[in-house]
């Protein structure tokens, strides 16, 4: 009795130890990501106008592709700098900024999520809307269900996924549906825009209402269908410099790049609209 019970316990212990080791590892990797910003403080205090060091950018998940491109461009234009990104749901990012995460720049997918940060007076400059994003229907490649409008999504037998109302893409979808007076029962309310899109990419769902930029980023794994009601539910993306930015100088330069003509080109290519 005792021996095998012990063995069971040992297995559980080993599993626990493994989990602890994994946790420790992931903690290490995340701290190394932000540790670079410390060196930025030093460079900043030397009062040189030339950006240097690491600039930490917290940005909405939907900005991943375009901001990664812009980050590389920034590093090329300003040798000696490094842009470190933290992409995620805007709500989660806002919560970690108000919780004291060391970030320089915050780019949110909606004014509402930016307000979480500005309400706490955690921003140094007032937020600027730099792009807008419109919804699009993502269908299976070739559009086998012949979806051509938002109304087509209400057809019975069609599996549609939406974002949950609590996240910006879900709020926008609800607004578009309300405008058109349509009632749509999806099979699932997903927790973010990428997981909604993934369900279509894996062919588990027939269609999803996501951002135009996500459809474009997915390439030929999904097919986009534009619908007029999406004009009623356009999301504004604000960007702001944060109050306790460890590297404010470089952060300002990065925001300047995002709002420049050059930055606009990259963002427009990704499918974003200009404000």
């Amino acid at each position: 009795m005792t021996r095998s019970a012990r063995r069971t316990r040992r297995t559980l212990l080993a599993a626990g130890a493994g989990a602890a080791a994994l946790l420790a590892l992931s903690a290490c990797s995340s701290s190394s990501g932000s540790s670079g910003s410390g060196s930025g403080t030093k460079a900043d205090s030397s009062a040189s106008a030339k950006p240097s060091g690491t600039v930490t950018v917290f940005a909405a998940a939907s900005l991943k592709e375009s901001f990664t491109t812009l980050g590389k461009q920034f590093e090329k234009e300003h040798p000696g700098t490094k842009v470190s990104f933290n992409f995620g749901g805007s709500d989660i990012l806002a919560a970690s900024i108000t919780g004291g995460a060391p970030a320089d720049v915050f780019a949110a997918a909606s004014p509402k999520t930016m307000a979480i940060v500005t309400d706490k007076k955690d921003t140094a400059t007032s937020p600027v809307t730099f792009v807008r994003n419109q919804l699009e229907i993502a269908t299976l490649p070739g559009n086998p269900d012949k979806v051509s409008s938002l109304k087509d999504l209400t057809k019975s037998g069609l599996k549609v996924v939406l974002c949950d109302k609590t996240v910006p893409c879900g709020a926008a979808a609800q607004k578009a549906l309300a405008t058109s007076g349509l009632k749509l029962t999806p099979v699932s309310y997903e927790q973010d825009v990428k997981s909604a899109l993934t369900k279509v990419e894996l062919k588990e769902a027939d269609a999803a209402v996501v951002y135009r930029t996500d459809v474009r980023a997915a390439g030929d794994k999904v097919q986009g269908v534009q619908f007029p009601e999406s004009a009623e539910a356009v999301n504004d993306y604000p960007i702001a410099l944060l109050k306790d930015a460890p590297n404010a100088e470089a952060a300002k330069a990065f925001i300047a790049l995002v709002t420049s003509a050059e930055g606009r080109k990259v963002l427009t290519e990704a499918g974003f609209l200009q404000p």
Binding site: T8, A15, D164, V187, E204
Partner: protein, 283 residues
């Protein structure tokens, strides 16, 4: 009678039973006590914080909403169903691992415990690729029987069972290895088939271990999040279990998330407390 004596004696020598009193008397050494207390505080502090920050005055309103009860009911039903699935499939699997010898048994046992360490989201993705509408097996389920598991309550049960069953298998296998196989042998020499021996002799013998495993599996299924949201999605009343409701409430209404968490905490404590005696016997 004699067996009980023998096992008691064996247990005493293993745990050092008779000497236990003498070992404890000099007091607990500080290098052990300090980390132990820190460990205790570490485990309890978050739960205390949940109680401290709970919106007690609005709690009744938060908890009487239909959506909360829907999520709680779905959580309880699906966790129970997942435990039932785990019992039906897991106990025979544990028996196979404990009582038979086949090549690669150690490897199979390692695979069975894999979901214990696998990140639940990975489990959810794997389930989608296997049982999804376009999955390796799911494709045939769909075209032959018209069954699709994602986005259904059955999908929730599948995801929960996938994550929870290893707890049951490990627990039952351990108990089976401890149980004396000679009783089964005696039963078979008296003419019982091996299955009858299992049903009439082994199963009652290992009942406490099965119960402990079932409780573990049930608790794990109740808290399951990653695999569920990945495989079954999130739809109120159909696939939205309590952990999903908590996560999504946290996005825009932290007070509601805390209230929901309290319910889950209360249910978990009630179950563990209610089954403590049985739990103790098993371990």
């Amino acid at each position: 009678m004699t067996r009980i004596d023998a096992s008691d004696a064996a247990a005493d020598t293993l745990v050092g039973g008779p000497r236990r009193g003498r070992v404890r008397r000099p007091g607990v050494p500080l290098p052990l006590l300090l980390p132990a207390l820190v460990g205790l505080a570490f485990l309890l502090l978050p739960l205390v914080a949940l109680l401290v920050r709970a919106p007690w005055h609005t709690l009744p309103d938060q908890l009487t909403s239909a959506e909360v009860w829907q999520a709680l009911r779905l959580s309880l039903v699906s966790a129970t169903a997942a435990t039932a699935v785990s019992l039906v499939l897991g106990v025979p699997l544990a028996w196979l691992l404990a009582r038979t010898d086949f090549p690669g048994r150690g490897f199979v046992r390692a695979l069975v415990t894999l979901p214990l360490v696998l990140p639940p989201v990975v489990g959810g993705v794997a389930l989608l690729l296997a049982l999804g509408r376009n999955g390796v097996v799911g494709r045939w389920l769909d075209s032959w029987f018209g069954i699709t598991l994602p986005f259904t309550t059955a999908g929730v049960v599948v995801a929960e069972a996938f994550v929870a069953m290893p707890f049951l298998v490990i627990s039952v296998e351990g108990t089976l290895r401890a149980a004396d196989p000679r009783y089964e042998e005696a039963a078979t020499t008296l003419g019982a088939s091996r299955f009858t021996a299992f049903r009439r002799v082994t199963l009652p013998l290992i009942a406490p271990g099965v119960a402990a495993g079932a409780v573990l599996a049930w608790a794990r299924a109740l808290g399951e999040f990653g695999a569920t949201i990945t495989f079954a999605g999130n739809f109120p009343g159909r696939t939205q279990t309590m952990p999903l409701a908590v996560y999504l409430a946290l996005q825009n209404d932290p007070a509601a998330a805390i209230a929901l968490s309290l319910v889950l905490l209360a249910v978990s404590i009630a179950v563990l407390a209610g089954l403590r005696d049985r739990w103790m016997t098993a371990s």
